[in-house]
Symmetry: C2
Subunit: 388 residues, 2 copies
């Protein structure tokens, strides 16, 4: 389906590929006035501090003895992660929703401390005699794409939100991100060819909801989580060969108790421009605007530049754009001039009032400059990377 | 002499490595009121425009028919370029001096149009029967490091500065950058081991001045350059294994005529922090400040971060700093928290009132976020690269 060239693809992947190993879980009850005190797990309780955010859009996070309080399941990886964009899109998308629930001005971010690495590995595994806690379907023995049980759950992520209380922190709520596959890729034999089992949306949705409730029940058994609001966001991963990640599909919350009862559908979509294979774009206008931008800059140098965009839509409206430009430069003055020209073309052609990022890199993958505009900015910030 | 590990080294090189192929030359007479009209070399003379700079610190540059007017010697490479930092440091350093002569608010930048690719290649070659225009010493046949004639001239660069005049542009002055080797690296046989011939500063300086005057004479023979001010900046390249480039050593200008008569020494130096091997730092205070910064951030995660700085000095005073941080991240929240923490530590520990850039990247070389402060800013700009 995709016809982007390898350089473009490598570019995106290398830019995204951040060694994410997915992460893990927890759940339940929003009770604003009654959080649980989180005792920092290090030796000295009075040396705990936070990062002191420089931007109002970012969370403070907890530092203890000069060291970041990492996630309890740091480094957990699901070996068959399909698409590097999913790793990044899942987490940054989740953060966007979290900012609407837990204002960065009031809450401090804490990496998930309740779902340990061992739990995460166990829960993301198949259910079996050796792994009774496994949340993925049992292996039914079949290797036929249409008869085997696909792996449905792909990633699990826990984020905690706290407020300062005395020398410690008060847990105010936790958010669980759960990611499910749209397609399960597998090998019939080690090093053999890859086959795939498609997972119908309806089947994936149902499985996610059931799994979410099991997770919630398990989390409620943790003493400190008995009365904490637990939010859940479910994400469906993109195709392996896609240049964007998947998207969130629904959410729920449980102020208390061990069942998610109300589900809120999420209408969002990530797409790639230019549109290929005569596919219909989500928005013809956005597609035309992007093509104007692309056409104006790709012939700036005698050698053609690769220009590709990831666009994020919510309820059919564009809400963000990341553009990657790859070209061959022969001097700093070329980079600098090109960067300015791109900013002007972006200003003339691309949608306003949304976060916009344009990354410019050389053919060998080195990032050379970038352009950025926040939704409320009128002008662009440009930066050419330097060296002495 | 250097003890940085390979990751740090690769990081710097990959960040710097911009496919620069060096460039070429020209010279002479500053005559403010009498520039030469530059006719754009493309088909339609009225479709010429400029990049329309978004920053007052950057030059407008010339675009013709939607295409950048590239350097006449674009893509010229000297095969034995020693150090990737030299390629970038030479050109960006030159731009810093140019901004002081030709204000970006008044002048438009034009890539050098007078020294063609063929001229550049010829001039940077050895003088020989086949290449009588060669400016590097004749091959005396010796392969002994102390008896052979080293290649002295390494790079040549021409930048033109113009103002708009009617449908065209008026050439107001040109700047020639000339880079000489401190060490000439060579092989006695193809694919054989590398040997080196050191070039004494006094010998290199003398050779550069003689070559500059030959170049000036040749440029003055070009009709359009007869009465244009020509500036010259000479740069001495760093050692092959250094993590910074070399530095500019002297300059001159010729408002007219074919001889540079007055030479102005330039006292600048690029150094790397942390200082290794008990070397004395240029500034003990700057070194201590950097070490405080480094110590405070390198244990932020359980895995240690690599932290290294390039610092630029003019007349003994620090004038700029680029810091590269490499560490392994497991999530976007880790990147975001680390970025904020670094900005705070930079604010507390690093010199103020100078341009400061901090690039943060993963162990595999992907740039993940960066922090920047201009000399006049009080706060830091931070950006975490995103993906959908």
């Amino acid at each position: 389906m995709k016809s982007y060239n390898n350089i473009q693809k490598l570019f995106l992947i290398s830019t995204i590929c951040t060694l994410f190993f997915c992460t893990l879980t927890a759940c339940v009850s929003r009770n604003e006035s009654q959080g649980t005190k989180v005792t920092p797990k290090s030796n000295s309780s009075n040396s705990s501090t936070t990062t002191d955010t420089v931007s109002s859009n970012l969370y403070d996070s907890i530092i203890h003895n000069g060291r970041y309080q990492v996630s309890a399941q740091r480094g957990v990886s699901v070996s068959n992660t399909n698409n590097m964009s999913d790793l990044m899109g899942f987490e940054s998308g989740l953060l966007n929703y979290e900012r609407k629930i837990f204002s960065p001005e009031k809450y401090i971010f804490q990496e998930g401390q309740n779902i340990s690495k061992e739990l995460a590995i166990s829960w993301l595994g198949r259910k079996s005699k050796d792994n009774p806690q496994g949340l993925n379907p049992v292996d039914n023995g079949s290797k036929d794409p249409n008869k085997r049980n696909p792996l449905v759950l792909q990633q699990i992520l826990e984020h905690d939100f706290v407020t300062k209380k005395g020398n410690g922190y008060n847990l105010e709520g936790i958010v669980i991100g759960l990611s499910i596959n749209s397609t399960d890729y597998y090998q019939k034999e080690q090093y053999g060819p890859t086959f795939k089992t498609d997972i119908k949306n309806s089947a994936g949705d149902k499985y996610a909801k059931e799994s979410a409730n099991i997770i919630l029940t398990r989390l409620r058994k943790i003493q400190s989580l008995k009365n904490v609001p637990i939010y859940l966001y479910v994400y469906r991963e993109g195709e392996e060969d896609s240049l964007v990640g998947g998207n969130f599909i629904f959410s729920s919350k449980a102020d208390q108790g061990d069942k998610f009862t109300n589900w809120t559908n999420i209408n969002e979509k990530n797409v790639v421009y230019p549109v290929t294979n005569n596919d219909l774009p989500v928005s013809q206008k956005d597609s035309d605007d992007f093509n104007n931008f692309k056409n104006n800059i790709q012939n700036f140098f005698p050698n053609i530049a690769g220009v590709i965009a990831q666009a994020h839509y919510e309820s059919g409206l564009i809400k963000g754009m990341v553009i990657k430009i790859t070209t061959q430069f022969y001097s700093i003055t070329e980079i600098s001039s090109f960067t300015q020209y791109c900013a002007n073309q972006a200003n003339q052609n691309l949608p306003k009032g949304i976060p916009l990022e344009i990354d410019i890199q050389s053919a060998n993958g080195t990032m050379l400059s970038f352009i950025s505009r926040n939704p409320t900015d009128t002008g662009f910030y440009t930066h050419v990377f330097s060296s002495y």
